[in-house]
Structure formats: structure tokens, C-alpha cells
Symmetry: C2
Amino acid sequence: MRPGDVIQTKRDGGELSRAQIDAFVRAAARTEGSGWEPYHLTALLMAIYLNGMTAAETAYLTQAMADSGTRLDLSDISGPKVDKHSTGGVGDKTSLILGPLAAACGVLVPMMSGRGLGHSGGTLDKLEAIPGFNVNLSERQLRDALAKVGLGMMGQTKDVAPADKTLYALRDVTATVESIPLITASILSKKLSEGIGGLVMDVKTGRGAFMKTRARSRELAESIVRVGTANGLRTTAMITAMDAPLGRYVGNALEVIESIETLKGNGPPDLTELSVKLAARMVELAGIADAEAKVRAALTSGAGLDVFRKCIEQQGGDPKVIDEYSRLGVPTPSMVPVKAPRDGYVTDIDAEKVGVAVRDVGGGRSRAEDKIDHSVGIVIRAKPGEQVRAGDNVLEVWFRDDTKFAAAWPTIGAAVTFGDAPPSPEPLILEEIT
Amino acid sequence: MRPGDVIQTKRDGGELSRAQIDAFVRAAARTEGSGWEPYHLTALLMAIYLNGMTAAETAYLTQAMADSGTRLDLSDISGPKVDKHSTGGVGDKTSLILGPLAAACGVLVPMMSGRGLGHSGGTLDKLEAIPGFNVNLSERQLRDALAKVGLGMMGQTKDVAPADKTLYALRDVTATVESIPLITASILSKKLSEGIGGLVMDVKTGRGAFMKTRARSRELAESIVRVGTANGLRTTAMITAMDAPLGRYVGNALEVIESIETLKGNGPPDLTELSVKLAARMVELAGIADAEAKVRAALTSGAGLDVFRKCIEQQGGDPKVIDEYSRLGVPTPSMVPVKAPRDGYVTDIDAEKVGVAVRDVGGGRSRAEDKIDHSVGIVIRAKPGEQVRAGDNVLEVWFRDDTKFAAAWPTIGAAVTFGDAPPSPEPLILEEIT
């Protein structure tokens, strides 16, 4: 099968056959002798971007991409395995909260996460703010963690969906990232490789999200639910608001602190509520009754916090951070506040600007190879809708490097809006797709 | 300027700026440090294929591609310089006839042609059937030929539009050839490099043509006229039929013979008429009055034949071929005829099948690196509309290699259709675009 013929099919708006998709995915996984070059792949990616894919094509592409690598088989471990995945946001540390909560309710959570890039953070980076925490688990270590803790939090091994790695790198530089079928296949091929039976998807929507509009977010959520289900994965999706940061802390170590506080019952309402709802969906997908009540009980009893403590210990981290935040190495020496210029209300905090600013003071990455400073970040003292007096701290920016701070400052200053009245409250969970 | 941003502009249906087109073309010409890889180029080519280009974009792309290489400056040679270009057909040897005719009327013809590929032939291959004929002229040799003969027939040097070479090679393997703006820029960037002031374009349409439909042919003709004119080239186009082969001889040496016969006044009516009309348009573009009458006079007086003889001599060929066709090395030892199975009329000869058959007996190329046998080909004894008796030769296939002949025979046999009545005659010149 010649690459040009496969490309031509999609160029002309046709449906790719399974054999054509296999050829494409084998090429992306760099199987020798495929006869494809990267320039064939990108021409096809652009044709897919512009002409789309049917549900059947997307489902088979997802399966073929998962099959391009190792797929964990956890069927010998008894118990329901469920994971959660988010499209990424600012201040979104729910994984650190709902993973322990779901595990405390009897769900096995083999969670493979990614790193932060651009304005959004990554679970692995947050976990690595905990001294000693090892996210590079082998399959054996993951099985051990599931058996002892019910939760393993790790990065993807290089054997997981290698076709996705090639395709994502090419999409990133050829303006073909924002394609619903390609995003769907990228996310789900990796989730299928985890050996789970259920997946809760958090599709963020808004200014600080990957998908900026509600319509596109819904399109993606529906595609993921449809394609996950077609591949034998019980899948449910929530569309949740990401116009303002989630919670009050943005930055890796800061987000670990807020996660622990939430598991202690002291979390901000938005973060607590979303974490509970997502965990409840996981517990439901695991086939456990009274899911939400059980999750709330795990929160108030401290059972969730206990799982997190064990998880840290199991993965080589220092469990004392749970009680001594100073072991996380924050705060850093320098803090500059954004003060309210007047009496009134915070009407808006732009999640994307906050994310970019945290990245720019060193808490995130512009390129995949950038090093992260776990200790820097932004604390939100007044969230949208909260009243302030002139001179109150609204944001506090923690940083280490003056030059980076100076570069980030204009973005930080533009992130907050003030007004005479509070904005009308918007729901955080906008929609559920099942 | 990042490649992804340029690609995104076209992906979203926007108009590329001149700076964006410059970046793309510089990259295609392999300027060091461009930051572009072939996989960027093909993603953009697919976006152009699917989202098109405005007239202004196409015009600037054409200019930038011409500027990516050496553009001949013949302004020191006084006299009008005009060329003709065809999109390629079967039995289309008009260049060998109209070049000499136009030159005999006072036009300077710096003709850069290509080689055959697939089912269509190439002028350079035909000329090389003449023993000793050198198509690899330097600029100095071309200037000399124009001064002494008024006509130089050569291949493109490697310095001509190098961006086009890269882009064409990538389009060929990524299903992005059939794009009107990309075809326009490819053809005209090379023609602009010839230092001509006028161009007559022969856009073939039909089964044996690159453009199969009249609508697409018209679209291409209009694009070429518009973009040529925008780049300061007086451009006119004819849309001509290519359902059946042009003339009676197909194959390199055979086509040289038919061209000479035509210049001697003994050519088949279709070939003679089209050559005269195209030559007349060249003479008109040169600003010479009574163009068609002058071309016909050059034909009947033998002035055109005389130019061709001088051209052969000037370029190192054996001018005695004009009077002794045996010097061309045809016929080859073996001939098998296709005979009429019944009394009646030839109603159809499929140009594409004839072209493919000639290629398959060794007269053309499947790949650019294939070697050509100049002596093989097909002679059409009865053209569509001509009466035959059962047993008459309709086609005569001249070949050297029995295995190749056997492979080509089914195609040859399917090329001719017979009937009880002649088909209604169709015009050869369908339309003119100016």
C-alpha cells in the first residue's frame, strides 16, 4: 500500500480502511520498511485535520495506536480499575485528591499522567515536588502499588503507544493538534494501554483550557465517550469551566499543599466539589453503590488522606510532607503581591494569564526539555466574586529569579479585573456526557 | 517566522502574506537555517490543496519560486522572445513543429522542455531520438542558438526554480499534485526563468490529458493566464482535446519523423492545424502582424523545415535525418498490427491507453530514472472517423522486447473501438483564454 494512496483517500474526504489505518500507525511507530516518511505522515495529518474522521475510523485509529505499544494486562488483579484524565487546566490538581479518594472507596487506580507544557501544569511535575517521589514505576512496581495502596501514579513508559509519540511531535509543529479525532485517539490510545475498565474524562472548557469554546469541548467529550465505549472502556465525561484557575494555588509545590489541605477537609469549595464529583464518577464506573456518599465519607474520615500518605511512602517520597509543608521547599525567598487598586470586587482572574505567568517565573515549560522550579507559583488570595479593599493582596507571586519575574510581571498584572459588584456566579460543572 | 504559524494560516483558510510565502519557498529551495523540514512543507501543501490560494497568493508564489533560482536575462538580445508550453498529451509533438515555424516568422524561441513520465511523452526525449542532439545547453549555448537559429530547445538547468524541484517531488508522493495554484506556480516559475515576454499555453483536456474534465482544464487555463499576466508575461491559453492521440505516430523517433513530415507539408490535418494555430499565437504575442498567414507561409515555403534543420545542426545533431529517416534507427525489428475485426469505422482510440502501451513497450518512463528506447512506438493507420475493412491494420506496434510487448498487448487491444458509423467530429481546439 503506497502512502500516497492512503493520503489521497482522506484528501478526497473518504473513509480510511482498517488496512490503511494500520499502515499509517505502523509507520508512526517507526516500524522498519514501512515506506513512509515523516512528510507522508504530516500530509495525512493535515488531510485528517481538514476532512475529519468518522466515529468508526477514530475508534480503529485509537485501537491501532494502543496496539502499537505495550498494553498492560491487569486482569489477574481482582477489582475494578478506573482512571481519570483531564485535558489540562490551570491550578487543576484534582488527580492528587480524587486518586486517593477513589482508592479509599475500593477502586484500583493505575494512573498514568503527563507533564506540564505551555500554560497548563502536569500531575507528574506536581508529584515530583514531593522530595523522593518516584513517578517512573515499572509494571511490577505499579502492580505492587495497586496491591498495597490501591493507587499508583506514574508517567507513561516509552513502550506505551509509541505511534502517538511520533504523531504528537509532528502535529505540534504542523498546526494539526486541534483535531477532535486526533486528540481522541491520542488520549484514549494511552488510556487503553493502562489496562483499565473505566475512564472519567474531565474536558476543560474556556479561556484557560485547550478547548476554548463550549461547542468544541462538547464535541471532544462526545467523541471520547463514543470511542472509549467502542473500545470496551466504560467512559463518562464532564465538561468543566476553566476560565479562572481551579482552587487558590498554582505552581507545583503549592498545588501539593492545596491537595493535602483538601484531603484534610480544608480545600477551597470549587476544588473540593470537582474532586468529589469526579471521584464519585470513578467509583460509579467501578460498579460500587452510593458512590458520592462514600467519597464524601472518605474525605471527612481522612481515609483519602491516608491513601495519599501511603502512596507517597510506596513511591519513595517523604510522607512527612503531609504535616510539614516546609519539607516541600516553599515559600521561595521572594514574593511580590498584586494589590487591589480600589475597594470593590474581583470580577475576573484569567486562568491562561496566570498559567503563562507561573510558567514564565519557572514553574512550567515552554519546551518539553525545559527544567522546572517546583517552588515557584501564584497564590490567589481573592477569587472572582470576593470583596476586596484597596491595598489588599489579590495575587501573591512567589519566585526565585528576578529576571524571570520581570518578564512575567506584565502578564500577571493583566490577569485580574476589578469591579463594583461581584460577577454572577457560574457553575463549575457545566455538563455531563455519558 | 515559525513554520507552524504559516501552516496554521492556510489551514484556517487564510491568505498567506508575502513574508510567509517567502519563508515557504526559501525552505523548499533548501536555504540553510530555514527551520523547515519536509514534513512542514507537505502539511502546508495539503492545506493549500484543500483550502486553495487566491490569485494574489498564486502570483506571488510563482514569482518567489522563479526567484529561488537563476532567471535568464535575455534583454540584451533584441527581438521578441516567446515560448509555448503544454500540460502534456499522447502524440503531442507540436513543439518540434511550432518552434521552427515561429522562429521562421521572426520570433526568438528559448524553449525549455521536460521529459516524459507516465503515459505522456516529453520533448527532450523526442529530440534525443536524433543522433547527437544535445539538449543540455548552457546559457551561452542557448544565446548562440537564438542568435544563429532563432530557436534553442533544451532542458531546464538545475539552477532553474530549485524550490519547484523539491515541492514537486514531495507533491508527487503525498497526493498533492492536482492543485490548480500549485500546478500554476510550478509551470510558470520555470517559464518566468526563461527570460521570455510571451507564453502560449496548451492546456490539454480529456482522457489522455492530465486534466480530465473541461471545467478543471478551464480553471487551470484561466489561472495560468491570470498569474502569467500578473508576473508581466503576456500569456494566452488554448484548451485542446486529448481524448485520442494527436497525429498518427506515438513514440520518440516516430514523432520526430511525423514532425519533419509536417514541416514538409505532409502532416496529418489535426497535428498540422494545432501546430499552426499555436505558432500563430506565439507570433501574435511577439507583436508581429498577419501572424497566421506568416506561419502558413513558413510551412509551405519550407522556411520552418529549414529552421529545424539548422536547429539540429546547431545543437550537435545529425541534420541528414531530415531526409533519411533510417538514421533515426526505426523501424525496430518487430511489428505486430491491431487489425480491424470487421468492416466499419474506427469510432475511438483511447489516448491514455496508447500512451501507456508505448510507455510499456519501452518508449516512456514509469519512474524518472527509467531508460527510454527511442525506436519503439505505435503508428495509427486509421484514426477515429476513418473507414476500415476487416483485416486492415488499424494500429502497428513497433517493439524490441517480446516480454514488454506481451505485457503491453492487452492495453493496446483495448485502445480501439469500432462501429457501423463514424463518430460525429469534435473540434480539436475547444476554447481560447486570453
